[in-house]
């Protein structure tokens, strides 16, 4: 049984309700049988991947949906050494999909090799003209700087044999020269009303009664993230149906945990408390919650709980330590330094107010 998020993904441009304008534009764009390197950017759950899949389908037809997942060793001949990387890829006859995060430190060589391989196995069209294949790079903001540098000339040289479709949420992490080589498509998060519309559509197809008050809470919880909304609805459905008017969407474990950390910080500011918080941060990292997400989420949870007077300082520490976290090696140092800073600042503030 596929999850609702997959089951109700619109698979052709004609079925789009949200992002209808982008869908129409992309449809016109590929009508000529051609399209430029493209970069989709926007927040998580906005519908980027859905657009990409519909785009591939519009170019190649249903054939792109016949995908295979393969794990095979790639042998890459570098001038200085031979590299062998085991790689899991998702591919059809027309495209290949890659998550740089799965590739690790050799991403620049792997990406180059794949593009060259695509150029070698370039398909022949019915009219004898040569077609192109598509490389989909998910989370391209996690592609190393070196790999991005490497893409520059390659995107120009192989532009007729291989087109890139890139997807990311933090577009500032994609370097300017790479962006300059793409059509950049901004995918805004759908409005609350649009999220509601999608929820109602799914409920109807699943033959569910969706009370308005409950649906509004799911929309609120989702924060303009469609994936979050649909996953939440499905979980709620499993927990209790018919939906109760007072039924609350359940937040994810890690979110609750971070909220708890924020509460710990605001409750007591002491070395002992810092020690407790640190163990919780370790716990989150051990569960593979990305450090930048911890930092961001923790900041927003703290902001909910503190006076206006110290909000800007808190945000400025967060911005500073999150940047160091990106540049440094060990995330825990910077998370902990942030917490210590905030604790000290909160304490000073409380003392100045005569509250501690």
């Amino acid at each position: 049984m596929p999850l609702w998020v997959d089951k109700y993904r619109p698979n052709s441009f004609d079925k789009f309700v949200v992002h209808k304008d982008i869908a129409d534009n992309l449809k016109k764009l590929v009508a000529t049988g051609d399209f430029p390197h493209t970069l989709f950017y926007g927040p998580p759950g906005a519908g980027k991947k859905t657009l990409v899949m519909a785009l591939l389908r519009a170019i190649y037809g249903a054939g792109v949906e016949k995908v295979r997942v393969e794990t095979k060793p790639w042998k890459i001949d570098l001038p200085s050494r031979k590299l062998e990387v085991e790689l899991t890829t998702l591919s059809s006859n027309h495209h290949l999909e890659l998550n740089p995060a799965d590739v690790g430190s050799n991403d620049r060589y792997v990406v180059q090799e794949i593009i060259k391989e695509m150029a070698r196995s370039r398909p022949m069209g019915a009219d004898g003209s040569r077609g192109f294949k598509v490389l989909v790079l998910n989370e391209v903001d996690r592609l190393s700087k070196e790999a991005q540098q490497g893409l520059r000339r390659t995107m120009e040289k192989y532009s007729s044999a291989c087109r890139l479709i890139m997807v990311c949420s933090n577009v500032s992490k994609v370097m300017e020269p790479v962006r300059s080589r793409c059509l950049c498509v901004r995918v805004a998060a759908p409005s609350d009303a649009q999220v509601m519309e999608v929820l109602q559509g799914v409920a109807k197809k699943e033959n569910l009664v969706l009370p308005e008050a409950f649906a509004a809470r799911v929309v609120d919880y989702a924060g303009r993230n469609l994936r979050r909304a649909l996953l939440c609805l499905e979980v709620c459905r499993a927990q209790q149906y018919p939906f109760g008017d007072s039924q609350e969407p359940q937040r994810a474990d890690w979110e609750l945990y971070i909220a708890e950390v924020a509460k710990n910080i605001m409750d007591e500011q002491s070395p002992k408390q810092l020690y407790l918080v640190r163990s919780k941060l370790y716990e989150l990292l051990a569960n593979c919650v990305p450090p930048e997400l911890i930092m961001r989420q923790l900041t927003f949870e703290l902001l909910k709980r503190m006076d206006d007077e110290i909000k800007l300082e808190t945000v400025s520490y967060a911005a500073q330590f999150e940047q160091r976290l990106q540049e440094g090696a060990k995330a825990i140092f910077h998370l902990e330094a942030f917490v210590a800073r905030v604790m000290s600042n909160v304490k000073t503030y409380l003392v100045s107010c005569g509250l501690a």
Partner: protein, 332 residues
């Protein structure tokens, strides 16, 4: 239907076709006549003609055929560690030069193009010094980069340096009109100006934007489509953010700023683009530029831009910079 993007189709074939970089073009044209070329260093922002110029020189010196054996292009997609570069250059320099081709100067040296050289490590660059000297009789080097400061001084000082400038609107308009004519694209009112404004002197971006807009509009390009495909932040979003930054009282409370920033993030706007437009908005609203408080605000914007370039989180940076700008403007 050709699958060649316009940027490649209209890449200058000769140095004389390179627009706006007169200083470069004049010097190189003279050098090409005598086929006497110094080592070269091209630097400048994306899409200003650096790679195109280097490739054009190669073609004009050797012609399309001989070029294959006389020119070696190494860019950031190639492995360029210390040993690799040395070995490659050595092997390349050691092969005999082929017979000259009539109609081309075919000087008795080879051309080594090191594109995107700013991505080479300092060590690799250092190793190149010796290599350059050893083979300078039989090879000429062309270094290309965006940031000249990333090229070590000993290399830079061995080259004739050329800065590639962001293209001026009028020059850009000329190239765009040329392409429109060839591709039978019609331009709506204000389209040319918009294209110049959104591409910031980057001709590749302008051509790409034009091609996308032309496809969407079925051969007609209007202002709205251009703005749409160019990633500009909607003016009302920027002015509302700027207003919040200037606000005092309830509208200037942190919660109000946070709400604006969260909306901008949800709308998916590129944070750097937001900074750029916010800066323009703040400057345009300034009373004659005598306002010292603006300095603090501009400094905060610059800091955030740097942070974003090194990979910091967009949401935290935008929230922080908005708060900092607000604080700077509120200072007595």
């Amino acid at each position: 239907m050709s699958t060649q993007p316009w940027v490649e189709k209209y890449r200058p074939k000769n140095v004389s076709e390179v627009a706006y970089q007169e200083e470069v073009v004049n010097t190189l044209t003279r050098a090409l006549e005598t086929a006497n070329l110094p080592h070269l260093l091209f630097y400048g922002p994306p899409g200003t003609g650096k790679t195109s110029t280097a490739l054009a020189i190669a073609r004009q010196l050797y012609g399309p055929e001989l070029m294959k054996s006389r020119v070696l292009e190494l860019n950031a997609s190639d492995e360029r560690g210390i040993h690799v570069v040395r070995e490659k250059v050595k092997a390349f320099a050691a092969t005999a030069v082929g017979a000259p081709v009539p109609g081309y100067p075919c000087p008795p040296y080879k051309l080594l193009i090191l594109d995107e050289a700013d991505s080479m490590t300092q060590d690799a660059q250092n190793a190149l010094r010796r290599t350059m000297e050893t083979y300078s009789r039989v090879t000429r080097f062309v270094f290309i980069c965006n940031y000249v400061s990333r090229i070590i001084e000993p290399l830079a000082s061995r080259c004739a340096k050329f800065r590639f400038k962001p293209l001026q609107p009028a020059i850009m308009a000329g190239r765009i009109e040329h392409i429109c004519e060839r591709e039978s694209v019609t331009l709506g009112p204000g389209a040319l100006d918009t294209l110049s404004a959104v591409s910031g002197g980057d001709l590749r971006r302008a051509i790409n934007t034009l091609q996308s807009a032309a496809r969407l509009g079925g051969g007609h390009v209007d202002r709205a489509t251009l703005l749409d495909v160019s990633g500009q932040v909607a003016p009302e979003v920027v002015s509302s953010l700027a207003a919040a930054c200037r606000a005092t009282g309830a509208a200037g409370r942190f919660g109000a700023l946070q709400k604006q920033v969260q909306n901008i993030i949800a709308e998916g706007y590129a944070a750097q683009q937001v900074l750029l437009q916010l800066q323009a908005e703040l400057l345009s609203g300034a009373d004659g530029g005598s306002d010292l408080r603006l300095c603090g605000a501009l400094e905060a914007l610059a800091g955030a831009d740097y942070s974003l370039v090194v990979g910091a989180d967009e949401a935290l940076q935008l929230l922080n910079v908005t708060g900092q700008v607000h604080a700077a403007l509120a200072a007595a």
